[in-house]
Amino acid sequence: MGDKPTILIWSEHPALARELVGAARQALGPGGDVALLAPTGVAVDIRSVDVVFTTESADESPEAWAALLAAAVSQTEPALVLVGATKLGLQVAPRLAERIGAGYAAWATGFTLEAGTGAVAARCSLYSGGALAYHQFKPGRVVLTAAPGALTAPADAPSPERIARQSTLTAEVDGIAPTVIGVRPKATSAARLEEAHAVIDIGQGVKAEEDLALIESVAALLDGQLACTRPLSSDRDWFPEWLGLSGKKVAPELSLLIGVSGAIQHIVGVRDSRVIAAVNNDENAAIFAQADVGVVADLYAFLPVLVERIKARGMRPAWQ
């Protein structure tokens, strides 16, 4: 540690690892070192980091990654370890913190590292995104996780040309990891939600699967992709995925929320939309405080009228 602090980075996702490298570089300025444990089989731009660890191990279990990271920690003595907040990363990071006796916080959206002391402070998302926690850590090593896009480093973050020192890491995994006996890929929807200009986001106010025809008629006029709240996916199985805390996050031009109550766990999935509109028949629904424009109406009565008026007035999405 000392006055030339190191930040160690790992994510199994190359794009997320690159994002974390950018954020680390920016936090360190020219003074410190960025070390990267590279995801298996991925070529790294070795000019953006100072130290690269690669591994030949085919073991991609959380136990194996935690062991490799612990080995990388003892070689680089980092003040901070940044891990991508995926389901895998969120298993690896707390394990590592426990193993090396480091401080730990999840869902960082920003951090500072004091050059002289190595003291770390972090801003983290809390209460499903409804709050921010500012943690000042005690002196000593800290592990943080950050989700994709959470630590947005400017695209033009300075990346001085460096030539990284490279070495191969191996680590012993003790015999307490579960044994993998089968793997099958998950169904994902064909809809490219992240690329949609408009998202028509429906909730339990939509009662029956037949009613999707009505929703689709709205979506067609607005050039929108259908999305839903968690119960429509997990309980009713209408869609393979949902928006929100535990689902996808989108940031389209327009999100139109239909029959959605506005629970914070759902709202975090759409709150970066440029414009939010909502239809709900309960005037007291939380969604109205989260929307730019809200309509208090029964969706079954209102949507056909909306469709008729959009057509009658010859309105089109602005991007078409």
Binding site: W107, Q136, F137, T179, L254
Partner: protein, 265 residues
């Protein structure tokens, strides 16, 4: 076989409001309860109990006044609740909570299966399972959608980011369950009556767990935490009335003004 389910006494985050002027969080009066994810944990544990004939205890960290909040959990089929009286008022960092849970599990040993949620409703930081696995040195079967006893161990269906994965591990083991995978059963009046006879034992961290508050505090890695609310800046225009056509027109106008819709060229 003995099962322990870890249950978090959590804040209902949907009730946390933010003062729009000051960004201050209004947490006073926010109800605390057995978490929704944690009810799923109990369901998973009861199913495993039914499949194996095991004993089942719940460990929770909560104020002693929360005793009555565990009636439902007992009615679902748990034999006993161990309530660790929380000396930190729900504010301890996860590293400390994990030490308390570890001590309670060790005191209940032999414990063959520890079940917990992949995260809690309020903290949602995914820490407890992995950290306990490290401390207890037990295999962690994380993000479980299905749990089956098999060959003296467990087989678990894991819901990972991009795939479903089947894993096995011998006992003793730790399982963290995926959200909503085990919707809690409805309980009957009979269950509730039976639950009345089941114990909620309150354990003190010093008296029963043999830990010292000072030692726990010195293991904290976070010196200070400040919270602020996230304020949404939306226009919050609300259209209501009887004339649906007029409301549709107003919505269309608003979307046109916002640059989302445009008229016929």
């Amino acid at each position: 076989m003995n099962i322990v389910a870890l249950v978090k006494y959590s804040r209902d985050v949907t009730e946390i409001k933010v003062d729009p002027a000051t960004s201050e969080l209004r947490t006073a009066g926010v109800p605390e309860r057995v978490g929704l994810i944690d009810k799923n944990v109990v369901e998973a544990a009861v199913r495993l109990k039914e499949a194996t004939g095991a004993g089942l205890k719940v460990i929770a960290l909560a104020p002693a006044t929360a005793r009555d909040s565990f009636k439902d959990v007992l009615a679902m089929g748990v034999d006993e609740v161990v309530l660790i009286e929380d000396p930190f008022d729900g504010e301890a960092e996860a590293g400390i909570v994990v030490r308390l849970l570890e001590a309670a599990i060790r005191k209940l040993d032999p414990v063959d299966v520890v079940l917990c949620g992949f995260a809690s409703d309020d903290g949602y930081s995914f820490q407890v399972g992995p950290r306990l696995a490290e401390r207890l040195r037990r295999p962690l079967l994380a993000y479980a959608r299905g749990i089956t006893p098999e060959g003296g161990g467990l087989r678990v269906e894991q819901n990972l980011d991009d795939r479903m994965q089947t894993v096995t591990a011998p006992l003793p083991a730790l399982v963290s369950i995926d959200e909503e995978a085990f919707p809690p059963r409805r309980t009957t009046l009979m269950d509730a009556l039976k639950a009345k006879k089941k114990p909620v034992n309150v354990w003190g961290i010093e008296t029963e767990l043999g830990l010292s508050r000072a030692d726990l505090e010195s293991s904290a890695r976070i010196a200070d935490t400040r919270l602020t609310g996230v304020v949404v800046r939306r226009q919050q225009r609300v259209l209501k009335g009887q004339d649906l056509g007029a409301m549709a027109d107003e919505l269309i106008d608003a979307l046109e003004q916002a640059g989302v819709l445009k008229g016929a060229a």
